[in-house]
Symmetry: C2
């Protein structure tokens, strides 16, 4: 078996993502020699112990990171700054700090000021998840066949980037590298805007008159049902995502709103060609995804 990528890996945050990495590391010997887990939530810690998710389960984040050659932050992106501030003085020289947040500009912004000399930062975003959350929701296969995007700032030690990339490859992911701004724009449209829309349409339905809302719940056809599945995601995670990728999300929402108003206008004025064109573009994008085996 290959040597473990890391000697001692600390996972901070034992939710869906963190506990999946912990399970993976315990199931495969090639990720880390020792896995340390910590979480600010006492119930999560207790579950991590009961489920034996790590070799060491430690309540204090500062003690948890001591002596580790890698620290993986799997907390809502709004918690990244405070956690980093807390652990920074306790990071071993040469340690690699990485994360799993869905926004990368904010992660670099919040971590960089606290980063000690000689500690490496390799931000990461595994594009995997489910509608469930918490330590019980994780599973070792979560990352298999999914993309993981790394956004190492300019000047990052290539060896550090290489080790984080190797972790994700061993998790079964396809690793891509891109700059922070491109990442944030792309996820704004492939993931953040769809979630914003899904949360909104559920609110819109919830505001309907009682009688209509009853019928909505009864007749939720596939279209609406798919939206509610997306909309059932974790509250803390998504609040933080929207707040920490604000510019890109608002930019994509503005474009989407213009486009939906244009389609609404075409419906009002009976512009058949315009409507058909919009529907055809949906089919075209769908075909592109199928060709890329993403559908």
């Amino acid at each position: 078996m290959a040597e473990p990528v890391f000697r001692r890996l600390c996972i901070i945050g034992i939710g869906l993502i963190g506990s999946s990495i912990a399970r993976l590391a315990r199931a495969q010997g090639d990720i880390a020699g020792v896995v340390v887990a910590t979480d600010a939530n006492a119930e999560h810690l207790e579950r991590a112990r009961e489920l034996a998710l790590a070799d060491v389960v430690e309540a204090d984040a500062a003690r948890a990171v001591a002596g580790c050659d890698a620290v993986l932050l799997a907390v809502p992106v709004g918690a990244i700054g405070p956690v980093m501030q807390r652990i920074a003085p306790h990071l071993a020289p040469g340690c690699i700090v990485t994360d799993t947040g869905s926004t990368k500009g904010s992660v670099v912004r919040d971590i960089a000021p606290h980063l000690p000399q000689g500690v490496h930062l390799v931000p990461g975003h595994p594009m995997a998840g489910t509608e469930f959350s918490g330590p019980d929701a994780g599973f070792a296969e979560l990352f298999r066949g999914r993309f993981c995007i790394l956004t190492p700032p300019e000047g990052t030690d290539p060896a550090a980037t290489g080790r984080v990339a190797e972790l994700w490859r061993r998790a079964g992911s396809m690793v891509e590298t891109m700059d922070v701004a491109t990442h944030d724009k792309v996820v704004a449209i492939v993931s953040h805007l769809p979630h914003l829309i899904a949360f909104t349409i559920c609110s819109t339905a919830d505001d309907l008159a009682q009688e209509t809302r009853e019928a909505v719940l009864k007749f939720a056809a596939s279209g609406f049902r798919d939206f509610t599945r997306i909309a059932s995601s974790d509250v803390d995670m998504w609040r933080d995502v929207f707040l920490n990728n604000r510019e890109a999300v608002l930019e994509m929402l503005a474009r989407f709103t213009e486009d939906s108003q244009a389609l609404g206008r075409a419906i009002r004025w009976g512009e058949r060609d315009f409507i058909e064109d919009r529907i055809k573009r949906g089919r075209k994008i769908r075909r592109s995804l199928i060709e890329r085996k993403q559908a």
Copy 2:
């Protein structure tokens, strides 16, 4: 076996829905004694013959409906009026006209002026479908476990409504009756608005700069992928749905736009409580659907 509901049933339009009903009627003896199929599209007619979808495949709609005790219109809702005008003089006295359109106000508006004395109108909407279309896409089980909504105008012969309801029950559907206006409002939010949004987000993505669009296609996460699945639906059907449920669709789009702008504003100004409330409402609706076994 039970007596067939209809002696001679004419299905006009052999697409996904029409061919599914035809397959069902051929597979089960209890729907119709004789099934006649017709379609304005010569290729569909040819396929209907090759697949032996009906006892009689007839190119001329007027000849097809002659002597039938039931005519089922399974054409895009924009074609309902012209088709009805063409067949009206050839309908047998006592014949029941029904349809499968997704908009019911427009169907009543377009059929009623042509309805001969003594011919019954029982509009229907089977809430079933797939992203595929055409005579090859149909299957007899399409309607099983799905709702079918009937919207008989006031004064409709209850026996006529009862026979159409019996057709759908034998197809495996749960039959509900409601007034036209309620139907059109409910489907506007559970189905038409989600489709409008899905078509729009695909257009928005398609307009992005080449480089970003490439990355969007590459990293289409589950959220965006679900939208493209919805957006790959039939062009003619959805153009007609939007144009024929215009008022309700524009009303729901306006509400949705207000709500999405309110969420965008909360993101811009960092209003955490508002954002969390919107996310929680999505989860609440999701839970309601799960309790109703609709999710």
